[in-house]
């Protein structure tokens, strides 16, 4: 495990960093396979969009690219997390006039998910924790993640791979750590994320794969029942790629042709660290 803080090996940050004080920052979680950070450009673009939305100075993408590439080449297979905080200073919530952002790049092992999560699908619950509707923060991957922490704290059974989360209006938004898609009559649908949720880099990549494959795509919002009536459901994030959903609470799903096609194309494009042998069947 290596950690670079502003380019120097370190494992701590100052107490008065605004990331710790207020969650004043953004982050990215990047899968690394065979020494290469996957979808790095897309992650850096979202990071940039996040800093812009939070009115933070942009980080130099070339510096980030160099640090991520170096760690990735070193470690080979891992997850790299970038955190950009607003740094220190200011008076209370007021930032200093020119914040000196702090850049934290760290590696951690790929989570050891069993291959069945891709080949057979995952069992999913519905969380009681709701997401607030906050368009000012929707879409970006900021460091205010208490809603996700509370939702994830609702279960400890390792057989349940993910929890679906609704917003306070009752519309499905995402999983605690993933985006959600439904396939119905050949159409690929996913929540719009205009009010809550994180616009995942893998979500965009999968939408591109779906478009290339000729599947109609819709970004729509609706209550849980609208989604659970679909032919198939799947989850996406940068580390898992695509997980088909086999079960939501008591309801069972199969892996349909659309999901299988997307998994095959994702594997072919090498956009996620998928386990070998779970697709192209």
């Amino acid at each position: 495990m290596t950690i670079l803080v502003n380019g120097t090996e370190a494992d701590t940050v100052p107490v008065f960093d605004r990331g710790l004080q207020y969650g004043d920052g953004v982050f990215e979680t990047i899968a690394v396979s065979a020494g290469f950070p996957l979808l790095l450009d897309e992650h850096l673009q979202r990071l940039h969009a996040g800093t812009a939305r939070l009115r933070l100075p942009a980080a130099d993408p070339e510096v980030l690219r160099r640090e991520v590439n170096a760690l990735a080449a070193d470690v080979g297979e891992c997850v790299i997390k970038i955190i950009l905080t607003a740094g220190e200073g200011g008076r209370g919530y007021l930032r200093p006039e020119s914040p000196a952002c702090r850049r934290i790049v760290s590696t951690s092992p790929l989570p050891p998910h069993p291959p069945e999560r891709w080949s057979a699908g995952v069992c999913v619950r519905v969380c009681e924790t709701r997401l607030a509707v906050q368009p000012a923060l929707a879409g970006i991957k900021h460091c205010n993640r208490l809603e996700q922490v509370l939702a994830r704290a609702e279960w400890s059974d390792p057989a349940i791979a993910e929890g679906l989360v609704l917003d306070t209006a009752g519309n499905l938004v995402e999983g605690t750590m993933s985006n959600v898609f439904a396939v119905q009559g050949g159409i690929v649908r996913t929540p719009s994320l205009t009010g809550s949720g994180v616009r995942g880099v893998m979500r965009d990549a999968v939408m591109d794969l779906a478009a290339t494959a000729g599947f109609p795509i819709e970004e729509v919002d609706g209550p849980l029942d609208d989604w659970l009536g679909a032919d198939a459901l799947f989850l996406t994030n940068s580390v898992i790629g695509i997980w088909p959903v086999s079960q939501v609470e008591d309801r069972q799903y199969g892996i349909d042709d659309v999901t299988r096609t997307l998994l095959n194309r994702l594997a072919g494009a090498r956009l996620a660290p998928l386990p070998p042998g779970v697709f192209r069947r």
Copy 2:
């Protein structure tokens, strides 16, 4: 400036602390006057309520009390901030089974507000940033403060002391760093904070003072115009005590008898580090 991390002098925390990673924690800001932390019991009670709501283990109040009292006696006049984070560990948003919370107690100087903020009142703006409605987090002083940071980033004019913030439904909630009260026809009103906002320790103290003084109190919600039509407005927090409001955008207010009475009683009870000679007139 002294910082205690888990009881030991230190000025950093580990990068993987969940406070930095996700804002997974709560905090308190305590005014210290003549070596005494003001309203310490009340702050420790709210901290306890916050950890309970976030399903974190309770901190030992006696340990906190001892550390705060020692720093307060050392420094005399200052602000003491307590942060309790969920500590390190877990997998992503999932906390470890028994989180080892991290306790950070630090001092900083009292902010140098001019005495006119109490004697003549403060000029206030209305923020464009809205607060999301999230009952699961409303009331507690958690470390997810991006909404406040964004609201406070809207202005830099030092003549503007505070910004009022509405929720996404258009109801007045609070200031960026304070609670707000309105006085109309002798009745003291303040927003209910059931959907958003922080239930300030000073808000409770001022409501107690108002009750003792025989003023009727109402916790109600309503759009900004309902509030701006009041006879008088004032703001509260633990460091400022009570600031009368002299102006909101283009609208002027005087300091009414109710606000003056509350300021006098606050000074008499020594519940905030008020500047000498700005009341009892």
